[in-house]
C-alpha cells in the first residue's frame, strides 16, 4: 500500500498524554499540537488536517464534544480519546460526528487500528482501487456483502468465504490481507484439496528432522510461516476429520507442536478460510466438526456465481479485454453468446476464454473463434461441428468436453456432469426422486448435495 504523509492534530490539555500521542504519531506523519479549544480552532482554520485526536476534557469538562462538529466541518477525521466510560458521553460523541472513540487507557495497537481504518476509508484506499481494477461488479447484493470487509480491520475475527470455484475467493482473501497488514507480512495460501491427506498435517504443522520416514530435514509448517500475517485455508471442507480436530488448538490458542517436536511454537495469524461447499450442511450430516466451523466463521462473505449476477458478465468481458496489450473486438453474435452462457467456471473461466480470444491472430472475433464447449451449449446442435463431437482417441471424452476440462479444470467438469445428469434423469423420470436415485446409483445425500449446487448456480 502506498503511504502518503498524513497531517495530524492532537488536541490534549495534559502535557504527558499529548507528548505520548505526538511521539506515537510522528512515525506516521506530521503532528501539530493544541492544548485547548481555542488553539485547536485556530489551527483548524489555518491548516488542513487528515485526522484530529480530541481529548474530551480540555479547559472545561467535555469541551471536546463541541470541537467534534468543527473538526468535521473541515473534512477532518475525528477521533475522540477519553477516560470517560459513561455511555451517554460515547453516544453524544458519535452523534456529533466522531468516527472513532478510544477509551483510555489505550495502546499502540489501538492507534494503528484507527490509522488502518482511516487509510482504508480515505480516497486512496485499497478497497476503492480493488473494486475499480480487480473485482468488477455492479451487483448490489454482492457489494452489500463485501462492505463487511471494511469492518474486518477493526477486530481480530476470522474471515470465512463461501463461493463456487472461480468466484474470486483468493482475490478477496488477498484483499483482506492487504487491508490489515500494510507492510510485507506473509500471506500463506494453502489449498487443502490439493495436498494428499497424509501430507496435509505435515504441511500445516511442519516437522522435525526424523519425525517420519522421509523427513530428512526439519521444515516449517504453514501455521508457523503465517506468523504475523494471514493464513488462507482454501477448500477447508476437504480437510479430513482427524486433522480438523488437530487444527482447532492451533487456531484457538495460536500455538501448536510441529510433528516430532516437543517444543510449543506460537504463531499469531489472521485466519481466512474458504469453501465451495455448504459447511452448515456438512456440520449437520457430521462430515465437518461443528466446533471448528464456529472457530473459522466470523466475517462471512458469500460470493455468488456469475450466473446469479449476469449484469456483471459484459462488464467483466470488457475489463479482461482491456487488460491485454493487443486489442481485439467481439462481434455482436459472440457478445450475445458469452452473455447468455452459464459460466460454470465463473470469473476464472471467463478470464481464460477472453485470453484465448485475445490470442487469435485476427482482430475481430467471430463465433468460429469461441471454444467449442461454449458454442455447443449456446448454439443449436447444428452449429456444433462433427469434429467437436468426435471422441478423443482411446477416451470416452469428446473434443468439446476435453476443451471444457482444459479451461475449467477436472473438478468443475465432474460437477457439471453430475448436475446435468441429475437434471436430465430427474426430468425423464417425471421428477421422481427415488427412481432417479436408482438410475444414477447415488445416495440421498449425494442427490441433495448436487441439487443444492444446481440451486446455487441458478439452474433451478
Amino acid at each position: 500500500m502506498s503511504k502518503r504523509i498524513l497531517n495530524f492534530l492532537v488536541i490534549e490539555d495534559d502535557d504527558l498524554s499529548r507528548l505520548n500521542l505526538v511521539e506515537a504519531l510522528k512515525s506516521h506523519g506530521l503532528v501539530r499540537e493544541a492544548r485547548n479549544s481555542e488553539e485547536a480552532i485556530k489551527l483548524l482554520n489555518e491548516e488542513k488536517f487528515d485526522l484530529a485526536w480530541i481529548d474530551l476534557d480540555l479547559e472545561k469538562d467535555l469541551a471536546g464534544l463541541d470541537l467534534i462538529p468543527i473538526v468535521k466541518s473541515k473534512r477532518t477525521y475525528a477521533v475522540v480519546l477519553s477516560g470517560r466510560e459513561e455511555d451517554t458521553n460515547i453516544e453524544e460523541a458519535y452523534k456529533r460526528g466522531c468516527e472513532d472513540y478510544l477509551s483510555k487507557p489505550f495502546d499502540k495497537d489501538s492507534l494503528n487500528m484507527i490509522l488502518r481504518k482511516f487509510r482504508v476509508l480515505s480516497k486512496e484506499s485499497v478497497l476503492r482501487n480493488f473494486f475499480a481494477n480487480q473485482y468488477v461488479t455492479q451487483d448490489d447484493k454482492l457489494i452489500e456483502n463485501l462492505k463487511v470487509i471494511n469492518e474486518v480491520i477493526t477486530t481480530n475475527k476470522p474471515v470465512f468465504l463461501k463461493g463456487a470455484t472461480g468466484t474470486g475467493k483468493t482475490l478477496i482473501a488477498k484483499l483482506v490481507h492487504e487491508l490489515i497488514f500494510e507492510d510485507d507480512k506473509s500471506f500463506i495460501h494453502l489449498n487443502c484439496s490439493e495436498i494428499p491427506e497424509n501430507l496435509l498435517e505435515a504441511e500445516l504443522f511442519g516437522y522435525e528432522k526424523g519425525a517420519f520416514s522421509g523427513a530428512e530435514t526439519s521444515k516449517k509448517g504453514k501455521f508457523e510461516l503465517a506468523d504475523g500475517g494471514t493464513l488462507f485455508l482454501d477448500e477447508i471442507a476437504t480437510m479430513p476429520m482427524v486433522l480438523q480436530q488437530k487444527i482447532l488448538r492451533a487456531i484457538d490458542e495460536k500455538s501448536f507442536y510441529p510433528l516430532g517436536s516437543e517444543t510449543l511454537v506460537k504463531s499469531d495469524f489472521r485466519l481466512v478460510s474458504a469453501t465451495c461447499e455448504d459447511l452448515e450442511d456438512m456440520v449437520k450430516n457430521g462430515s465437518f466438526r461443528e466446533d471448528l466451523y464456529f472457530r473459522i466463521e466470523g466475517f462471512n462473505i458469500d460470493l455468488p456465481s456469475l450466473s446469479k449476477r449476469r449484469e456483471d458478465i459484459p462488464l467483466l468481458i470488457k475489463h479482461f479485454l482491456g487488460k491485454g496489450k493487443r486489442r481485439v473486438v467481439l462481434n455482436s453474435e459472440v457478445k450475445n453468446i458469452l452473455n447468455s452462457y452459464s459460466w460454470p467456471g465463473n470469473i476464472r473461466e471467463l478470464r481464460r476464454v477472453v485470453e484465448i480470444l485475445q490470442s487469435k491472430s485476427h482482430g475481430v472475433i467471430g463465433v468460429q473463434d469461441l471454444p467449442s464447449h461454449i458454442k455447443g451449449v449456446c448454439e443449436s446442435e447444428a452449429v456444433v461441428t462433427s469434429i467437436d463431437n468426435k471422441l478423443v482417441h482411446g477416451s470416452i471424452l469428446t473434443k468439446m468436453q476435453l476443451e471444457y476440462i482444459q479451461i475449467n479444470g477436472l473438478k468443475s467438469f465432474v460437477e457439471k456432469v453430475e448436475e446435468d445428469a441429475l437434471a436430465i434423469v430427474l426430468k425423464e423420470n417425471d421428477e421422481k426422486v427415488r427412481k432417479t436415485l436408482g438410475v444414477l446409483k447415488i445416495s440421498n445425500s449425494a442427490f441433495y448435495r448436487i441439487s443444492e449446487r444446481r440451486k446455487d448456480a441458478g439452474s433451478e
Binding site: 507528548l19 477519553s82 477516560g83 470517560r84 483510555k104 487507557p105
Partner: protein
C-alpha cells in the same frame, strides 16, 4: 455518581499516560535519551496525581460500603 465518574475518568487517563510513557521510554532509552529525559519528570508528576486519584476512589468506595 458524578464524582465517581470523574475519578474513574481521571484514573483511566493517568494509567493511559503512564503506560504509554513507559512504552515510549522502553523504546527510546538507548537511542533517544533526550525524549526520556523530557518525559520522566512528567511521568513522576503523573504518578503522584494517580496516587491522589486512587485515594479519592478509595474514599468513595469506603463511603459507599
Amino acid at each position: 455518581m458524578q464524582d465517581q465518574n470523574k475519578v474513574i475518568h481521571d484514573i483511566n487517563s493517568s494509567i493511559s499516560a503512564i503506560s504509554q510513557s513507559l512504552s515510549l521510554i522502553n523504546d527510546n532509552w538507548k537511542n533517544n535519551p533526550e525524549i526520556v529525559e523530557k518525559i520522566l519528570p512528567l511521568v513522576l508528576e503523573k504518578a503522584v496525581s494517580l496516587e491522589e486519584q486512587w485515594n479519592q476512589a478509595k474514599n468513595i468506595i469506603k463511603n459507599k460500603g
